[in-house]
Amino acid sequence: MEENKTFTISVYSENNVGLLNRISGIFLKRHINILSLNVSESEIENVSRFVIVVDTTEKWVQNIVGQIEKQIEVIKAFYHIDEETIFLESALFKIDSSLLFDERQIQNIIKESYSEIVTVSRDFFVISKSGRRSEIEELHAKLKPFGIMQFVRSGRISVSKQKMEVTSLLLEELKS
């Protein structure tokens, strides 16, 4: 049996209402859980980019990417392992403002974690942290004892490390 790994799938597509449903259906059909999903604009005008993280085997990820590419509005899909990409996630922590003054450690935690304070109000303040999942989890663990009012973490965003000319490949694909 092939081993499971974390793969980042990047999908370049037309901006289409039904496409997200079509793509998520491909995972659903194969019982593969999407760990994280992010949809945004890409470097090319009017082309969307999906970043999907899954934990599966390489054989399955190949199969899935093949099926994704088959969708009419998909221009191109790629997959990478973690070592091949620069990736990060973002998180927001909402914390009671009184703690900022009562608990000195909190300021140190913020400094040491290279996170930043986005806003401070009379009742609460918000810390933003971008980075690897482990860094966010570490910060979460440190803040937890003081009480976190709200926590949210985004999906992964990533770009490939190698100088793979995704853009030129795409433009070629769009021309042909």
Binding site: E14, G18, G25, N63, G66, I72, E73, L174
Partner: protein, 562 residues
């Protein structure tokens, strides 16, 4: 000049060369039906008795003609009733455009009467789908729908049109679609891949071809024939590839897969080069993948990149339209006869003849009529020129195993999805698409009752299809599995059937029932000779089994003869 969205739909269909559609009216599609009424001299609408029948009829039409089949239904239940046919067309790569009505745009998402999210429901089983909510979208979307349905690996497309878009007006102009920037249906043939394949094929000592529907879809029947005749390579087929090569061709070695022929199955695991042409290594073809053709170099000619290495690892993959690829391959292939290797197939065929075929075609020991001999009788009277439309089950396997075919696009059956109830409406579509051909639907007593209401369509349209029900008073294939793998526990497979002939006669279709072997010849002759539709019920031996058989999970070389 402004026309209504509904009229635009009709004008789009006409611009795509459609002159026949299947459907069933209802509230949300009424504006389109009103236009169908006005255009009835140019566009013939066939009123089916259930929307599932419309979908299967459109499929039958598409499979027999190679053109895009069209089905129309209303919103809600009308649309959901199409879904089985759409799923069937998706897995069997059948070009089809389904048009459904939808509640008005202002009601979307409000749980309005007969509102259903058909886009959501049909997404996993369509090649593409789209909801039109404004009249002026109609021409462009319809053009895309037909282009997507027919190009590359064909498939079903669903266009859902809200009622307001049917009523509203637009400035109509139609431009056929032949390019979508994110869609590349025809991969560019890489000639070096063809050369690599040719080298391997020329060196092969025991090469074998398995061809699928890709040959038919790309109209590469002549190229296939030229290839096997020049190379001397034995050619086997999948169920959907059947009829692409005449049955009688001496290099046609039969069917692969679960109920395929003994030789091509066993020899799949002995060949040194396996050349797959337009087929997808379905599990019913390969049996256990871990023991499938491991000794062979696999060369895969295929139009759909997602099929390459999906199930079977290839040595060389040629991504291309089959006709184009085979045309490029042919001049590179050296003439050969592979006589000794071909003899292996002949020897295996003798074994199958003794163990299975002779008994099936001429049962001994006072056994009742067999399905195989009924098919053989149809061969005799149709001379192998009929389009055979089979349903799903034992009779389907017997039809595919024993029917003779002289020409392509003559085997219409539900392969991938295995949809019982497919054959009766599909036969209607096939006959309307090819009125010049004899069309015989072969159906089991179970499947016949899954879309039996389409007898009404036959009566109303007078379409002269011939219907043969092979009645063993069982859901035969499931019963066979119960016998073999569930120790004869016949759970819910015994059928207490009605008087089928009386039902057919109720629809004013000439009907006849055969219970004795002596009557079979004359009855089939009468059926084929009939100018009108004809219903023939043949009471067959109740507990016959289809053999050979590769049990689920077994290797192709462990195929059972009994």
């Amino acid at each position: 000049m402004k026309i209504s969205g509904a009229e635009a739909v009709i004008r789009c269909l006409l611009a795509e060369g459609v002159d026949l559609v299947y459907g069933y009216p209802g509230g949300a599609i009424m504006p389109v039906y009103d236009e169908l009424y006005k255009f009835q001299d140019q566009l013939h609408h066939v009123l089916v008795r259930h929307e599932q029948g419309a979908a299967h009829a459109a499929q039958g039409f598409a499979r027999a003609t190679g053109k895009v089949g069209v089905a129309i239904a209303t919103s809600g239940p009308g649309a959901t009733n199409l879904v089985t046919g759409i799923a069937d067309a998706q897995i069997d790569s059948t070009p089809m455009v389904c048009i459904t009505g939808q509640v008005g745009k202002h009601l979307l998402g409000s749980d309005a009467f007969q509102e259903t999210d058909i886009i959501g429901i049909s997404t996993p089983v369509t090649k593409w789908n789209y909801q039109i909510t404004e009249a002026d979208e109609i021409p462009e979307i319809m053009a895309k729908a037909f282009y997507i349905a027919r190009s590359g690996r064909p498939g079903p497309v669903l266009v859902d049109i809200t009622k307001n878009a049917q009523f509203d007006t637009l400035d109509f102009s139609y431009k056929k679609c032949n390019d979508i920037r994110s869609y590349h249906p025809k991969p560019v043939l890489k000639i070096n891949k063809v050369q690599e394949s040719a080298e391997i094929i020329n060196k092969a000592k025991k090469p074998m071809i398995i061809f699928g529907q890709g040959i038919i879809l790309s109209k590469a029947e002549e190229e296939l024939k030229a290839l096997i005749e020049k190379s001397g390579i034995p050619a086997a087929w999948t169920i959907l590839g059947l009829s692409a090569l005449p049955t009688e061709h001496e290099l046609n070695v039969g069917m692969v897969g679960m109920h395929g022929n003994y030789g091509p199955n066993v020899l799949t695991n002995e060949c040194d080069v396996l050349i797959a042409l337009g087929m997808r290594f379905d599990d019913r073809v390969t049996g256990n993948l871990a023991t499938y053709a491991k000794q062979a170099k696999v060369i895969h000619f295929e139009i759909d990149p997602a099929e390459i290495d999906k199930n079977v690892k290839t040595e060389v993959a040629v991504l291309a339209d089959l006709k184009e690829a085979l045309t490029a391959l042919l001049p590179l292939i050296e003439k050969n006869s592979h006589e000794e290797w071909h003899n292996e197939f002949k020897k295996k065929y003798e074994i199958e003849l003794d163990a299975v075929i002779n008994e099936e075609l001429a049962p001994t020991n006072g056994k009742g009529i067999s399905m195989g001999e009924t098919i053989e009788m149809i061969n005799k009277h149709s001379n192998g020129d009929a389009i055979m439309v089979s349903d799903v089950g034992q009779h389907q396997m017997f039809t595919c195993r024993y029917a003779k075919f002289n020409t392509t696009k003559s085997n219409v059956t539900s392969g991938g999805l295995g949809t019982m109830g497919f054959a009766l409406p599909a036969a209607i579509g096939a006959k309307m698409g090819r009125p010049d051909r004899e069309v015989v639907a072969v159906i089991g007593d179970g499947g016949f009752q899954m879309n039996i209401q389409e007898l009404g369509t036959i009566y109303q349209t007078k379409v002269p299809v011939k219907i043969v029900v092979l009645n063993n008073e069982f859901l035969g294939m499931v019963r066979q599995w119960q016998e073999l793998f569930f120790d004869y526990r016949y759970a819910s497979t015994v059928m207490t059937n009605p008087n089928f002939c009386a039902i057919a006669e109720g629809y004013y279709i000439k009907a006849r029932k055969v219970t004795k072997r002596e009557e079979l010849d004359e009855a089939v002759a009468e059926m084929i000779a009939s100018k009108d539709s004809y219903f023939l019920e043949v009471m067959v031996e109740k507990e016959n089994n289809v053999f050979p058989m590769i049990p689920t999970g077994a290797s192709v070389s462990d195929i059972r003869l009994s």
